[in-house]
């Protein structure tokens, strides 16, 4: 490898990266298109359907964790009730569809209900702060969990959407048929890309800046005209809506929804995705979902068997100690290392020439 080779690669990639930098939302589309290819692989015999489901899980968690990143990364707030809202999205959609409502109406209803609870928590957050707020959200999560497991409407251990989901009243997609399952996967990726774009547009707008200003210094933010009421509500409503969309995605893809999985463990795992992947970073959030859910299930289980859990735990601890803002910031180190390498190679060239 020499410096000419590196500059050549830079020249080749230059126009692309310039274009992508100008239109950051385009990168999400490109990323989504690449991910859609996964839907084809099982049909070509290159992957089994179980693996596709694991990646489907990653997209669901990525969307959920994006919302949580609005709280953790931008607003300096924490929620331990995320799982409750994912559950609301998944179970709510299923219950409404089973009641005979069209899919789209079910989605709107579920989002409205969750969003309202999110707004209530936002109001609550104006009074209660720090660990008290964190545990208050745990209360909300526990209340939701009790409702899911105890109220008969959710049907005991799980609830099933019979006959799959019906989009726009005529596109029927069922988990049972392999082709339709791939279609559902593509649908999940599309939703994730849209949510990534929405997130990017939010954090680059006055809302994102206001949330950051509020979390860094409440009184400076107020002096600038930023209303704590408005932006606490915004933060919690957005976070619950993202989590609920994650739940809706779950209902769409799996179509059998357990009532018991929406507990504190899941909320902690989703926080872990943000922490390990990267505060304030969209790709970091996806990376976090991949590290926390993907790596153990896709790689470690086959490689290490039953000690994969220990390994994931150690991984979380190490990443937090060495990359306290998230693993995605390794990118900064890579860039630094690259320019160092280039400099050294350049030096070699000049000394060789003499």
């Amino acid at each position: 490898m020499n410096v000419k080779f590196l500059t050549k690669i830079e020249e080749l990639l230059g126009p692309f990266s310039a274009k992508l930098r100008k239109h950051p939302n385009l990168t999400f589309v490109v990323f989504g298109l690449l991910l859609c290819l996964v839907a084809l692989l099982p049909h070509l015999g290159l992957m089994n359907f179980g693996t596709m489901s694991i990646i489907a899980y990653i997209t669901i968690y990525a969307v959920t964790a994006l919302g949580l990143n609005i709280l953790l990364g931008f607003s300096g707030l924490i929620s331990l009730g995320t799982a409750g809202f994912v559950g609301a999205g998944a179970l709510g959609t299923a219950v409404f569809i089973e009641m005979g409502l069209p899919f789209e109406l079910a989605v709107v209803l579920v989002l409205t209900i969750s969003g309202s609870i999110g707004a209530l928590i936002g109001l609550f957050s104006l009074k209660v702060e720090g660990i008290y707020l964190a545990i208050a959200t745990l209360f909300v999560g526990e209340i939701l969990r009790q409702i899911y497991t105890q109220v008969p409407i959710f049907g005991g251990n799980s609830i099933q959407i019979d006959g799959g989901i019906k989009l726009l009243g005529f596109i029927e997609l069922s988990q049972i048929f392999k082709e339709q399952r791939s279609m559902l996967f593509v649908l999940l990726v599309i939703i994730m890309v849209l949510m990534m774009i929405a997130m990017n547009n939010i954090i680059k707008s006055k809302t994102g800046r206001a949330l950051l200003a509020m979390s860094r210094s409440e009184h400076a933010a107020q002096a600038m005209g930023i209303s704590l009421l408005k932006y606490r509500l915004t933060a919690f409503v957005l976070a619950t809506l993202f989590a609920t969309v994650g739940g809706i995605m779950y209902a769409m893809y799996f179509q059998t929804i357990p009532t018991t999985s929406w507990s504190l463990d899941l909320s902690l795992f989703i926080i872990a995705m943000v922490v390990v992947g990267g505060f304030k970073s969209i790709y970091g959030t996806f990376l976090g979902a991949f590290i926390i859910h993907g790596i153990p299930n896709l790689i470690l289980k086959d490689l290490l068997g039953d000690i994969s859990y220990i390994f994931s735990g150690v991984l979380i601890i190490l990443v937090i100690i060495f990359y306290p803002n998230g693993f995605v910031y390794i990118w900064v180190d890579i860039k630094k290392g690259y320019s160092k390498l280039k400099k050294r190679l350049q030096k070699d060239v000049t000394t060789d020439g003499k």
């Binding site: 008290y132 209360f139 109220v151 859990y309 306290p324």
Partner: protein, 292 residues
């Protein structure tokens, strides 16, 4: 009448268990500025040790309990030295997730070390020794659990209020940087706090074990209740969470018995949320002063 007394005895016992766990959580929260989600799992791990040794060597519950407390002490020190201290500069949210990492490591270790079966641990005092009070059975073991917990916690409060080490703990809890500059051994205080918290959690596990058997999630309810107790009582004092623990145990048992098994918890939680809205720092908590 017998129902009423049964509930009271039961609440006092579970309240004591919640209180032990809550005290451990507050201790860590005050000295390490983190919410320790692994509190329950650390206790569970050491309860496993007790049960395993009892099964394989046939030792009595009293001896294996002591052994578990010793291993708990060591677990606390190991966790502080190798995980918490290297992460002392990490932000508060990430630090909490480190304790999730600890949970995962322990959950992974349990079947590796002890196998997949669950274990049993007996009561400290066998169930044939009991009193009859207004038709309700009061086990001597229940009295033992309540008295020992109260004595231990009382002793800890005395220690924290009246000894040099207690003072060091209190000042580390209120301002670590200044304490360090003033020559308080904050590192040792933090380490001992983790060790003590691990022992409190283990004690809670040993007290709960006869009711639920020893398995991975045996302390889940205790752990969550302890968090709630801390919030209700206020994290800025050491005794607030203990009071909160008994309140939660009583209100939960009473609503479950007299109102509804299903909605009891939901009602209690909702009431606490409403309470928090008006007293955002708990029963005994103080609002931290802020400067503009």
């Amino acid at each position: 009448m017998s129902d009423l007394f049964g509930i009271i005895f039961n609440s006092l016992e579970t309240g004591s268990v919640y209180a032990l766990a809550a005290l451990g959580i507050v201790l860590i929260f005050r000295t390490s500025k983190t919410t320790n989600f692994a509190q329950g799992m650390i206790g569970t791990f050491n309860a496993y040790i007790a049960a395993y040794v009892m099964l394989s060597l046939g030792w009595s519950i009293w001896i294996v309990a002591l052994l578990a407390l010793v291993t708990a002490f060591l677990t606390g020190i190991i966790i502080d030295t190798f995980i918490i201290r290297p992460a002392s500069k990490v932000n508060a949210i990430s630090k909490q997730i480190i304790t999730l990492g600890i949970i995962m490591v322990i959950v992974g270790l349990l079947p590796k070390i002890f196998g997949v079966a669950s274990f049993q641990l007996p009561r400290f005092i066998a169930s044939e020794y009991s009193l009859d009070i207004f038709g309700a059975t009061l086990f001597y073991n229940t009295i033992f659990v309540i008295v020992l917990s109260l004595t231990l916690m009382g002793g800890m409060f005395m220690f924290i209020q009246h000894t040099k080490w207690g003072l060091a703990t209190r000042v580390t809890a209120s301002d670590e940087t200044t304490s360090k500059l003033m020559g308080v051994p904050t590192k040792r205080v933090t380490m001992i706090s983790w060790a003590t918290a691990a022992m409190l959690g283990t004690l809670a596990a040993l007290f709960v074990a006869p009711r639920v058997s020893v398995y991975g999630n045996m302390l889940l309810t205790v752990q969550i209740s302890a968090f709630f107790a801390g919030t209700l009582g206020g994290f800025s004092t050491f005794f607030g969470p203990v009071v909160g623990a008994y309140i939660i145990a009583f209100s939960r048992n009473f609503t479950q018995f007299y109102i509804s098994d299903i909605w009891g918890n939901v009602m209690v939680y909702t009431l606490i949320l409403v309470f928090l809205y008006f007293k955002p720092y708990g029963l005994f908590g103080k609002k931290p002063t802020k400067k503009v």
